[in-house]
Structure formats: structure tokens, C-alpha cells
Subunit: 381 residues, 2 copies
């Protein structure tokens, strides 16, 4: 059935998977490409057309007789609701079956207002978007949260900057409201998924690093998100930055986050008499050419690079993506990161390593939330 | 065909996979468990019996009429030749289809003698073993080398302790001699594979750390070996140990290997007037209760633990296995490692973390070489 989308991972339909590139294809082409029998292809196509996932295209070029019918993906057959809940913002978007974002809204929203207030605001923004696309059928909802999330239940687990959210049933709350499969994950995991899906779909090993108020990473291993045993993988913000003893909010000392996050840089700049409360203000100072801010960002890049050099030695990724709000400071952050990575990793691991700023930028988590739903509910990638 | 084993990964036969546990099963049981049609099961069983992978077992308990036939794995249907080439030793073994080691030999062999000498010795030891098992049919050969190996070609790449081996065609040399699929990998990758296959087959995320003359790691992510983009994953020996500036053989300073490997500890003990040239001598001193040696090993454990804490934060494994020759020093090394890991990682990642000494010990790489061939050539795990 069209809307029978369970919360367990779906088997990808090989035809749908193939047509995801937007190319129209004939029955014979689909048989050739999938190796499936004519009867199977015909049966599956009938079902996909009935579900509106696939639509007949114009006739193919004639080969003499009656031109064979072609079929193509109908990207708008289902919509995905994607939400990125940040520390101080809330973005909600509608994406289609290819993961393209059709429409989105963003508002200021403090995560510390608690789950009821934030998820009500999320639902309100979602309703506005859905009202603008009244004919769309929802395939599912993906939500990114700025803290650790238990993968199986979608519940936040002791999230440090989310008072009131610990173990809150986000899935239950949103399912009650929208009745569709709801998938919740850590925002950095979703950023990694989104950057991978949109920019590097064929890359096997990718590391996405978010540098913002906090610091975290998402690991793509063998083309799939590596969540780890408790879903805590990528927690690089609390790796010790060598030689540092600053007290971290986690209670430990010398954590990378306490040394090189936007929060740590802002505190340092304020101590130097500069107006810096947020990532954006740091970015503004850097863009205005303030040498103290530039130096602080570059030094933070070096500290982050020291930790990332260890990550590169351990995982040997082919792509390292730097995202998060402080990545808007651009080349100064990147230069510091590259400097230490190249100084500290073995040539075999860095010769072909691409170190880039995020291409999906502030939409990375939204793209990831959409990708999560498409992979999980429809088996698409 | 029985011996048509290509070097590309084989599709696992679902019946063979199922029978790998040694349990005899009837046709009906195999149909129920695999969901395959009777005709498919019958056809596949016929082929597996013809190939000797499966043999008829005694009749099942009668249910009234003629008792249905049962079938079971024939573990000796194929043999795997597994070789572990170390810096100063050479071990060769024969394993069966379950990965159990049937027979093995070990000799002293200096890797610096070069590929011709070492691989000739390997071939000689292999011939001795094969002569002892004259009826065995070889499924393939797995070889572990103590340096970086390019995954696709099996060639060593700039291996630091293997003069004369750079880019040597190990696969070609051994295929010429034995004519079977030959698979080559880094010894630490094989140790991780072997420990996973033998002790933790159901664990998704495992990190195996070898502490010996050098230090390295093998990463199991999602149940599969994570080799990284250039096959260089797990190279933790050259991550910087915070606060250290010792010159490393790689040309960098403060590498973990220059600080906490058996070679580094031995140099420190010799400077203190103790007889320590090898890992074994360090282990002997520790077992004899020498306080200087115990202190040196425990401190090395702490330095290793600092780097492993970062690895645990990044990967969130459920099992961390400590192997390699220095792991024979036992609890003193483990205590130092645990001390820093628990001090430096977030509780979410360490509460359920098992930190253990290798169970497969000095046979880890042999088990891994066998597992590599079984997975790759027969699709078995």
C-alpha cells in the first residue's frame, strides 16, 4: 500500500532506486538494468504508478513499430518534512523524493524553552509549509537535535544544552500530531548524512565536523553513517586538546570544545575587549579584518586540526568536511585545520585527502533529515 | 564448479551460511529458515554435496514414515592457508571452513631478509603443512604483513620496517606457487578480523589495538573491517601523545609509537640498566615483578589510553581489544589503558565499553587471514 511505511528500514525497490536519477526508461531498459523478469518489472511498475511514485513519460523514439512507453520518477509523489532544531534556531523544510528542498522556514527558537514549546513551534512551522503544498503526501518526518539521541527510540540522552529534553518522547509527540514515521537523530549525524547524500554520494569514507557553539563530528564509513554502540560516535568535542587545561562544561578539563569552539573563542575575544557573544559576531569580526579575531580563529583551527589529525590517522577518510556556524569564517579556520593535519598525519592518509568547507552549509542538517527518512522509509539513497 | 573461486567477493550461499554452525538440518528446515522454494533448496543442496561442502547426516528422528534426510557442513571440504608474517617470526597455518586452525608451524624469520627469502620460507612451511593433509583442497591463501598494504593489489606501500618489500607483488609470487586466490592485508587488520570472527561475531563496533614493537589498530564498523580510503585506517601509532617530543622513526615527533611501544619501553629499560631488547624480555621482567619494568609498562598503558580515549570518543565501540606481544604483560598494561580511557571519555561511550586482552592472542592474525579468505572467496563469515 502507498502509505504503509513502517519505521523499520524498507527494502529499496530496485526500479525506484534506478529511476531516482530522473531519467525516463522503457520496460526493456529497466529489465536490462535490474536483471528482473518482464513480469516482475511490469508488476512493480504497475504498483509504482498506482502509488504515483512513477509516471508515464513521453513515448521513446520509434524503432519502427509502436514506440515503447517510458516511465520516470515523480519526485513530488511524496514529501518529507525535515526539521533542524538548533540551540537558538528552528528550521523546517519540505523536501521531495530526490531530497531537494522545495520550501523552508526558519525562526529564532531557544532549545532551553523545553520540548513542548519547541515541538509546538516545529509543528506550527510544519503546518504552514504543508498548507502551502496542499496536494503533497507525507512520507515521513526527520528531526535533528543538538545533543545525543538514542538511535532506536529517538529520545535525547542527557543532552548537555537541552534542559527538560532528557528521555523526552520526541517520536511519540510528533507521531501524535502528524501520524507519520518520525525519525530523530543528532544534528551532526544528519549534517554528515546530508553532505554525503547531496555532495559526495559515491564517497565511502567521509568525516563531517561541525564547529559552532559546540564541536562534534559525523562519521560515514563504507557509505553508511557510523553511529557507534550507543549512538555516541563522533563526539570529538570532548577529546583532549594537547597541552590544555581549560575547564569544560562536561566537567573534564582541556576538552577541544572548551578550547576551540565558538563559545571559547567568543570568551577570549570578549576578554580582549571585543564584542563577541555569538558565532555570527566572530564571523563578522573576521570578515571585517580584525587581527585579534583572525588570529583566534586560526589558532582554534590549529587546535581542531590536532584532534582531526588523530581522526584521520584512525579512519583514513577521503573527504573531511568542515561545517557549522564558525565555518563561515572560511579560510582562516580551514588554514589552521589544514596546517596541523598535514603536519601530524602520515602522507599515505593525507596525499589524497580533500579538506573542504561544507557545500550544503546551513542546510546540511535539513538535507540529512530528508535523507534519513528517504533511506529509512523508502529505502532510497 | 567446486574450485571456481575468483578473487572478487563471492555471494554467500544461504544454505552454506546457515549450516556453518555445524547443526544438521532437513530440507524442510532449510526451506523454513531461508524462505527458499523446495526446488531451489534441492538444487543448491545437490551442488553443495557435489562440491563436498555439505554431506548427508544420519536420518532425523522418525515422524511416522520414512525419516527425512538431514544435511550438515563438511568443515574439511576446503582448507585455507593462513600466514602471519611478523617482524621477526613467520607463522603458517591450515584452517577449515569454520576458521578453526587444524595445524600450524612457526619459525624465526627476519622480515628484512626481503620478500624472496621470506615468501620462499612461507611456501616451504605451507608445503610441509599441505603434505601433512594430502586430501585437503585449498580454497585460498590469506597473508598478513607488518606494514601498510594496498587493499586492491595486496602490495606493501612504503612499509617502514620491511626493506625491499615496497610495491612487491606478493599475490603474484604466491599465486605462481600455489595457483589459488591469494589475499594480503596488514597484520593488524587481520588481527581485528580474527578476534571479531572468533570471539565477537555479533559485535557491530570493535577496535583491536596491537601493542608490540610498533602500535596499530584495526577498526570493525558495522560488523565489517573499515580499511579507509587508502587502506591506512587504524594507523594510531603516529597520533601524537600529548606532551611528548620524542623523535619517531617516521620523522615526526611525539608519536605514540615513539613513546609507548615495546621498542620505546625497551630503550627506557636499557637506559636504566635492565636487559630488555624484545617485547618478551619486557614481559619477563614484568612477570618477575621488576618495579621499574612494571612502572614503565603501566605508564605506556596510560599514554596509549590517552590516544584510545580519543578513538573511543570518535567511534563509540562496544569492545576494545588489546593484543600484540606486549599485551602478554597483562593487567599492568590494561590498568594503565583503562585508567586514562575512563578519565577522558564521556560516560555514554564508556559505561558499556568492554576493554579486554585479546582472546586469540598470538593466533589473532592467523584467524584473521583465514576469515579474510572465507569471507572473500566463499562469502562465509
Amino acid at each position: 500500500m502507498a502509505d504503509d511505511l513502517s519505521t523499520t528500514a524498507a527494502e529499496p525497490d530496485p526500479l525506484l532506486q534506478l529511476l531516482l536519477d530522473g531519467e525516463p526508461r522503457t520496460r526493456n531498459q529497466l529489465m536490462d538494468l535490474t536483471g528482473l523478469a518482464r513480469s516482475t518489472v511490469t508488476g512493480r511498475l504497475e504498483m509504482l504508478v498506482a502509488q504515483e511514485f512513477v509516471v508515464p513519460h513521453d513515448a521513446a523514439e520509434s524503432t519502427g513499430g509502436r514506440p515503447p512507453a517510458r516511465f520516470r520518477l515523480n519526485p513530488a509523489a511524496r514529501l518529507v518534512l525535515a526539521a533542524d532544531v538548533g540551540a537558538t534556531h528552528l528550521s523546517v523544510a519540505l523536501a521531495d523524493l530526490t531530497g531537494d528542498i522545495l520550501d523552508s522556514t526558519t525562526s529564532a527558537q531557544n532549545i532551553a524553552a523545553g520540548p513542548e514549546a519547541v515541538l509546538s513551534a516545529l509543528a506550527d512551522q510544519a503546518r504552514v509549509l504543508l498548507d502551502r503544498h496542499p496536494t503533497g503526501k507525507l512520507a515521513g518526518i526527520g528531526v535533528g537535535l543538538p545533543g545525543p539521541v538514542e538511535h532506536l527510540t529517538g529520545r535525547p540522552i542527557h543532552p548537555p544544552i537541552m534542559p527538560g529534553w532528557d528521555s523526552y518522547d520526541v517520536v511519540g509527540r510528533l507521531t501524535q500530531e502528524f501520524g507519520h514515521p518520525v525519525l530523530v537523530d543528532n544534528d551532526v549525524n544528519l549534517m554528515a548524512l546530508g553532505e554525503h547524500a547531496k555532495q559526495y554520494p559515491d564517497v565511502e569514507h567521509l568525516l563531517f565536523v561541525k564547529v559552532a557553539t559546540g564541536i562534534g563530528a559525523g562519521v560515514i564509513s563504507g557509505g553508511r553513517l557510523h553511529r557507534g554502540a550507543q549512538g555516541a560516535a563522533g563526539d570529538i568535542g570532548h577529546i583532549q586538546a594537547p597541552g590544555h587545561t581549560e575547564l569544560c562544561r562536561c566537567g573534564n578539563t582541556g576538552c577541544l570544545e572548551a578550547v576551540a569552539s565558538a563559545a571559547a573563542i567568543a570568551a577570549r575575544l570578549r576578554a580582549a575587549g571585543l564584542p563577541a557573544e555569538t558565532s555570527q559576531q566572530i564571523v563578522d569580526l573576521v570578515r571585517a579584518g580584525n587581527p585579534v579575531a583572525i588570529q583566534a580563529v586560526r589558532q582554534a583551527g590549529r587546535e581542531i586540526g590536532t584532534v582531526l589529525a588523530a581522526c584521520v590517522s584512525l579512519l583514513n577518510p577521503s573527504v573531511l568536511v568542515i561545517g557549522g556556524s564558525l565555518s563561515q569564517a572560511g579560510d582562516h579556520l580551514l588554514a589552521g585545520i589544514r596546517e596541523t593535519i598535514y603536519a601530524r598525519s602520515l602522507p599515505l592518509a593525507t596525499t589524497h585527502l580533500e579538506v573542504s568547507l561544507s557545500h550544503t552549509a546551513h542546510q546540511a542538517a535539513l538535507h540529512g533529515a530528508a535523507a534519513l527518512v528517504l533511506q529509512h522509509s523508502l529505502g532510497l539513497r
